[in-house]
């Protein structure tokens, strides 16, 4: 047993509203550069749908992931090592820009510079690749919300497979359409096929946290990883000639912050935590003969962080105590293994993906509601899960290599949680039979409800920071005194404000963000000693010190129109009221 730690994510799809905030913030943070215009480390797909790049799940075409050879050994679907080297001069299976889309911008200048005329000037789309005028035909979320329409029905590889297997039945029943959103990032697999495909050995998995990264110095642009990744989350930067991928926002993870996509997620559907897994058994688990056993095999690798044997083995590998503690509180472990509601995306690719999904119950609830049934009654839900074959089969193709029993089991748990908690909300006695029907106890259901529905920030993200001894190896080297409360705080050197050494961004962000997320005072100005950092002020509330304290007004000798005790006038007082009366409200007695 060789225990390693893996940073992993779970996404609860029921909560995704398809707002693309994750995609946009990720793009702003990571791929807002020349050469990566078409690169979306995070994208949100409407399912059923083609996905991005188009039909990436069609592995007969794209040859991503692993397969078993005749001797039952794992082999890259795109071919062995020699085949890869022979295909190096022109990668045989490679998505082109047309499979993604041609990125563009608009000729905004024309709006300002166009001469006066009878027509409104327009901003024509200009290709970011050629600089020429272009016709926009497709983009990363072009089929947004078109789930289940005739257009996507023809082009979704998953539906196509289902239809092949069931012929007419699917087509007919498909008239009652359903859709849901599927946000996708790199899976940070335990058995990554991109890494195995890389001729240069530039792609690596970090020992400490399992994040899969591309060494930009070592990548030589052979492009084999793009073929190798079945999720097509390897992108080729056409300017630098290097492969790039989702980094799991490792600079943030290292200081204990969630990824940008998770931090900005409006629906609070993302969970980040760590798994302790047995690295020695990964290959064996990925090689189980039956695709439908892959989920169980993968789950089996995730070790119980409360097991003394596992803890001892983890300590022997040098995993720090705070990481072990984080593993015990890990929300991803709870969802994947304790409650067994999170499933890996396309386990049949045999890469052991580490971004898990709680399949959506909403297609079923929607159907019930549309038909005028009670979408929260356990009987109705259980019945509908069994009756509505299409959504269940579709979800099974995505998450369990086609095993509908597994998906049904998860959906029944979600349904039970809905029904059980409704009783409590309505003041009725909780129906323990509902919990027992899905093999859980009321206590477990309540715990799952707390994690999934209440979803407190501290419970969604349990991220142990990179170890303290390592802090200096993080991407920025800062003075250790420049932290909250330290003498360097506030970037004040001997020459006054903003002099002295610059504050390392990671440290600044960490302190400021933590204060903003957890504190009552959104600006975190308590530490500035009566001064205000306007650059940090986001307009919410009135930070202390922005206006003179009320006490000044009452002091003898002060001039001005404000009368002592007149709290109804003046901008400062108005803000104070808007904020509400807090215990720390500044009064005249200070």
């Amino acid at each position: 047993m060789r225990i390693m730690a893996q940073t992993a994510m779970v996404m609860a799809l029921d909560k995704c509203i398809g707002c693309h905030t994750c995609s946009v913030t990720c793009k702003q943070a990571w791929t807002n550069r020349a050469g990566t215009e078409y690169v979306w480390f995070n994208n949100v797909e409407t399912r059923p749908g083609q996905g991005y790049p188009r039909r990436y799940e069609d592995q007969e075409k794209w040859k991503g992931g692993w397969e078993l050879n005749s001797r039952g050994k794992l082999k890259l679907k795109a071919g062995g090592r020699l085949a890869k080297l022979f295909g190096i001069f022109a990668s045989p299976v490679q998505p082109e820009l047309d499979d993604y889309y041609e990125p563009w911008t608009y000729d905004y200048e024309n709006l300002i510079n166009a001469p006066a005329g009878n027509d409104f000037p327009v901003a024509k789309p200009k290709s970011l690749i050629t600089g020429q005028d272009m016709k926009i035909q497709w983009s990363a979320n072009w089929d947004d919300d078109l789930g289940g329409s005739a257009r996507t029905e023809l082009s979704d590889p998953v539906l196509e497979k289902m239809r092949r297997e069931a012929e007419e039945k699917v087509k007919l029943e498909f008239d009652s359409t359903f859709m849901f959103y599927l946000p996708r990032i790199c899976e940070h697999c335990l058995n990554p096929s991109c890494m195995a495909s890389c001729p240069s050995g530039a792609i690596y998995k970090r020992e400490e946290d399992g994040i899969v990264l591309v060494d930009q110095d070592r990548c030589r642009g052979w492009r084999q990883c793009v073929t190798g990744c079945p999720y097509k989350k390897m992108y080729f930067n056409h300017r630098s000639g290097k492969a790039e991928k989702c980094t799991f926002c490792y600079p943030r993870i290292e200081v204990g912050l969630p990824t940008v996509c998770a931090e900005t997620c409006v629906g609070r559907l993302r969970y980040i935590g760590i798994f302790l897994y047995d690295a020695d058994r990964v290959t064996a688990a990925a090689s189980v003969p039956d695709e439908k056993d892959l989920y169980e095999a993968q789950l089996d690798l995730m070790m119980d962080p409360n097991d003394p044997e596992v803890i001892a083995a983890a300590r022997a590998e040098g995993i720090p105590e705070d990481w072990l503690e984080a593993a015990r509180r890990s929300p991803v472990y709870a969802l994947a293994k304790t409650f067994r509601v999170a499933l890996p995306l396309h386990p049949e690719y045999r890469t052991m993906p580490m971004v898990w999904y709680v399949p959506p119950l909403s297609p079923i609830v929607d159907v019930l509601n549309e038909q005028g049934h009670d979408g929260e009654s356990a009987d109705n839900l259980f019945g509908a899960i069994d009756a509505l074959r299409i959504p269940v089969e579709y979800l099974a193709e995505l998450f369990t290599a086609g095993d509908t029993d597994l998906v049904t089991g998860v959906l029944r748990k979600l349904a039970a949680m809905r029904a059980y908690m409704r009783n409590i909300t309505l003041g009725d006695a909780p129906d323990e039979q509902v919990a027992a029907d899905v093999g859980m106890t009321g206590e477990q259901i309540t715990a799952m409800y707390r994690l999934m529905a209440i979803a407190k920030y501290e419970e969604r993200y349990v991220i142990p920071s990179a170890h303290l001894e390592d802090a200096h190896n993080l991407e920025e080297i800062g003075c250790s005194l420049d932290v909250e409360g330290g003498p360097g705080m506030g970037q004040t050197g001997v020459f006054g404000e903003a002099s002295g050494k610059p504050m390392p961004v990671a440290v600044e962000n960490f302190a400021a963000l933590q204060a903003r997320q957890r504190g009552d005072d959104p600006t975190g100005n308590g530490d500035l000693g009566g001064r205000v950092n306007l650059l940090n002020w986001d307009g919410r509330g009135s930070p202390k010190g922005l206006f003179p304290a009320d006490g000044n007004r009452g002091e003898p000798g002060t001039t001005g129109g404000t009368q002592p005790g007149d709290s109804g006038s003046g901008l400062g007082a108005g803000y104070d009221q808007a904020e509400g009366d807090g215990p720390d409200r500044q009064g005249g007695d200070r």
Partner: protein
């Protein structure tokens, strides 16, 4: 029958220009090639890439690129056989002059022609495909000129040696000179005796090698043969310096502190 066994003239006048071209220049080029490559490897790991344009266009590339690359690999093998392996060794394994030239000309012509067609197609593609042309730097254009010229000059030597009876056998002139360079006893007289077409091809070749470290051609030096032997899954610790041979961070930029695993005395690669 092709006349290829013309012996080199017995009395060769070696002038100053010959000494410079065949005695000094090769060492200058070697120094630039070796030191330039080391310098580039140490300081420009990020720029060391194939700069593939397959994303923009792959229909033509799919034919042209393998044609060129496999062609040039065969050409390199041919050059090795012709330049490095002495005539006497080949004679010893019963490959006499006639047989050698039959193979050299037949296989070499095919490989050379494939290379030429490949690079012409690639240049055509580069010029006519908008995005590919836009991604072409000035450096690339210079490199293409030298590469194409070296290939053309090389093919020209083949053509001349077939049709011109007066061409001196390169195995008696160019090859001994080439080998002599690496034992630091440059046989300037031998190279001086070579025919003009070979001299031109050699000079273009030298120019290309001098240019090599500073162009995208460096990707050839990192041909990923180690892929055949490395494990599929690569683990790496956060603290380690990535590329062996790359420059250490400059003074003042070195990471401080101890990676936690090492501190515990646990080292794993």
């Amino acid at each position: 029958m092709i006349r290829t066994d013309v012996p080199p003239p017995a009395d060769v006048q070696v002038g100053l220009a010959d000494v410079m071209l065949w005695g000094v220049l090769p060492y200058v080029v070697l120094a630039v090639l070796i030191l330039g490559s080391i310098w580039r490897y140490r300081y420009d790991q990020f720029g060391w890439t194939t700069r593939s344009s397959q994303l923009y266009e792959s229909r033509l590339l799919r034919i042209a690129s393998p044609l060129f690359h496999f062609g040039i690999l065969a050409v390199i093998v041919g050059h090795f056989v012709g330049l490095v392996i002495p005539k006497t060794w080949m004679d010893a394994i019963a490959i006499n002059e006639d047989r050698y030239h039959f193979f050299a000309l037949s296989v070499g012509s095919i490989a050379g022609f494939a290379t030429l067609v490949g690079i012409v197609l690639l240049i055509y593609r580069r010029r006519t495909t908008g995005p590919v042309f836009m991604a072409t730097t000035r450096n690339d254009k210079v490199m293409y000129i030298f590469l194409l010229a070296a290939i053309l000059a090389g093919l020209a030597t083949t053509v001349f040696s077939v049709f011109d009876a007066g061409i001196v056998n390169y195995r008696d002139t160019v090859s001994p000179w080439f080998r002599s360079i690496f034992i630091f006893q440059p046989d300037i007289a031998a190279m001086t005796a070579a025919s003009l077409s070979f001299k031109i091809h050699t000079l273009w070749g030298l120019a290309l090698f001098a240019l090599w470290p500073f162009t995208r051609l460096v990707h050839a030096f990192t041909a990923p043969l180690q892929y055949l032997f490395r494990p599929y899954i690569v683990y790496r610790s956060r603290g380690r310096r990535p590329v062996p041979g790359a420059a250490a961070p400059r003074r003042g930029w070195a990471p401080v502190g101890t990676p936690d695993r090492n501190r515990r005395g646990i080292t794993r690669d």
